[in-house]
């Protein structure tokens, strides 16, 4: 399969170019889905080949934004896996309530769907005023959209259903305005949210927090990068702080397995304990 080998080489070259030129390292991403996204990016940008994409990355610094937006996957929904948010509300927020200030890190926040979900939970539990949410992602285009809080009206039904199943107290539509084909969430929901660019592959600890929500991001990483990121999370959490992963992600077989206790496994909630 000569074509296949040629493409492999071009992909390797693309990854090296992106790293050398801009410092973004995709070498530690799971290759099969990365390749799909890279091919889709090539088609979408009209590049004749992956090599042509590499040349554009070299020649046009402004192209980087588009590349990062294409290679990351800002696919999300509000209250995805509603039982997780139900568990956060019932089991975690009452514990966080005892802190004078609550700091939460939402890593890989995509278009902000989970940020607004969290903000609503905190609001309904009467904790929002003393909370601060750091919402980070590597994709600046997605971050800008996250700060807008605007979604397609066609998502409203799924979001609302999820919200109800997550134990929502009111109606999700109380929190947004529908306009044309869009829904926009209340500005007040982001008054304690900081949206910031942060690359889990290369950046470090920036705050001490009591809860980290990082869902459906680790599935894209290889073992080494996953372990790096989990160590970063461990080092960012206060003693007895909580880590919430995606429903198909786990601390089993990782290097931080023994730094955490399982708190609610179906909800993928772990709790950091002091070094033993």
């Amino acid at each position: 399969m000569q074509d296949k080998d040629a493409e492999e080489l071009e992909i390797g070259d693309f990854i090296r170019t992106l790293k050398a030129r801009h410092g973004y390292d995709f070498a530690q991403y799971a290759p099969a889905s990365f390749k799909r996204r890279l091919r889709a990016l090539r088609v979408r940008t009209g590049a004749a080949s992956i090599s042509a994409l590499s040349r554009r990355v070299t020649d046009e610094p402004a192209f980087l934004r588009q590349v990062l937006a294409g290679l990351s996957v800002p696919v999300s929904e509000m209250f995805r896996d509603p039982w997780v948010f139900e568990a956060l509300r019932r089991e975690v927020l009452p514990i966080l309530a005892s802190y004078p200030r609550i700091h939460i890190w939402q890593a890989g926040c995509a278009h902000g769907e989970e940020v607004y979900s969290l903000a609503i939970l905190l609001q309904e539990e009467g904790l929002y005023d003393k909370s601060q949410i750091f919402a980070t992602d590597l994709n600046d285009v997605a971050l800008e959209e996250a700060a807008e809080g605007i979604y397609a009206a066609s998502s409203a039904r799924l979001f609302s259903e999820n919200y109800q199943r997550a134990g929502g107290r009111y109606s999700l539509s109380d929190y947004f305005h529908a306009r044309y084909e869009r829904i926009k969430f209340d500005e007040s929901l982001k008054r304690n949210v900081t949206f910031a660019s942060h690359n889990l592959s290369t950046d470090g600890v920036f705050a001490e927090v009591q809860l980290i929500l990082c869902r459906n991001v680790l599935i894209y990483f290889n073992d080494a990068l996953q372990n790096r990121v989990l160590q970063l999370f461990r080092d960012s959490l206060v003693h007895k702080g909580f880590l919430c992963l995606g429903s198909k992600e786990t601390l089993a077989h990782t290097t931080v397995e023994r730094d955490f206790d399982a708190f609610d496994l179906p909800a993928r909630l772990y709790r950091r304990h002091a070094p033993r």
């Binding site: 399969m1 296949k4 799971a30 290759p31 099969a32 889905s33 390749k35 799909r36 996204r37 996957v73 696919v75 999300s76 995805r80 896996d81 039982w83 459906n216 680790l218 599935i219 894209y220 290889n222 073992d223 996953q226 198909k248 992600e249 786990t250 077989h253 179906p266």
Partner: protein, 196 residues
């Protein structure tokens, strides 16, 4: 635990509407000492708690049925089930990976995504099976398997509960075998002996 080696063959089965019964029948025909990994992908409505598809399928199957997990290796003699709501892919090193990338052919998990990654990972070792379903998913993936010399088996559309998926597969990819459901499991069970 026997891990799959690169020369390994891998069976991947895609099914949609009517697929649960169809899968039970096919998997039920595989012997307990089946030498290859098997991957089963069924379109379901994603995300609700307590879906025990693995238990449902295991009832009639001599092989262990387990949900596929990210970064874990494919295992011979195990039926790996694609989790609801995630694309399932096979890496070159014969480990699984998961993604929540956009839906493909309107579905996630998509058989196209699974089959295409499998074709790239094991080339001619891939055995793709398309069963009943009411969309076109799997057709492009089966074409990718055939393009790399793998084997394609498609359920006879005439007897499929929903013929569209087998029809699309035959139109776009063609097949090495077009068989009624009752014969597909037996065919899969016979393949290891023939290729030994």
């Amino acid at each position: 635990m026997r891990h799959a080696s690169p020369a390994q063959r891998v069976v991947a089965i895609g099914a949609s509407v009517g697929g649960l019964e169809a899968l039970k029948q096919v998997l039920g025909a595989l012997p307990a000492d089946y030498p290859w990994p098997v991957i089963a992908l069924l379109h379901t409505s994603a995300g609700y708690r307590g879906t025990r598809l693995d238990t449902l399928l295991a009832q009639r199957c001599a092989l262990p049925v387990r949900e596929a997990e990210a970064r874990r290796p494919l295992e011979s003699g195990v039926v790996h089930l694609a989790p609801a709501g995630y694309h399932l892919l096979v890496e070159q090193d014969l480990r699984f990976s998961l993604s929540v990338d956009e839906k493909v052919s309107y579905v996630r998990p998509s058989a196209d995504v699974l089959f295409e990654s499998l074709a790239e990972a094991v080339g001619a070792g891939a055995i793709g099976v398309i069963l009943t379903g009411a969309n076109d998913d799997g057709a492009a993936g089966l074409a990718a398997i055939r393009a790399r010399g793998g084997l394609a088996i498609v359920q006879d559309p005439q007897e499929a509960q929903a013929p569209q998926m087998p029809q699309a597969a035959l139109r776009i990819a063609g097949a090495d075998h077009v068989l009624p459901l009752a014969a597909i499991g037996a065919r899969l069970a016979a393949l290891p002996r023939e290729s030994a």
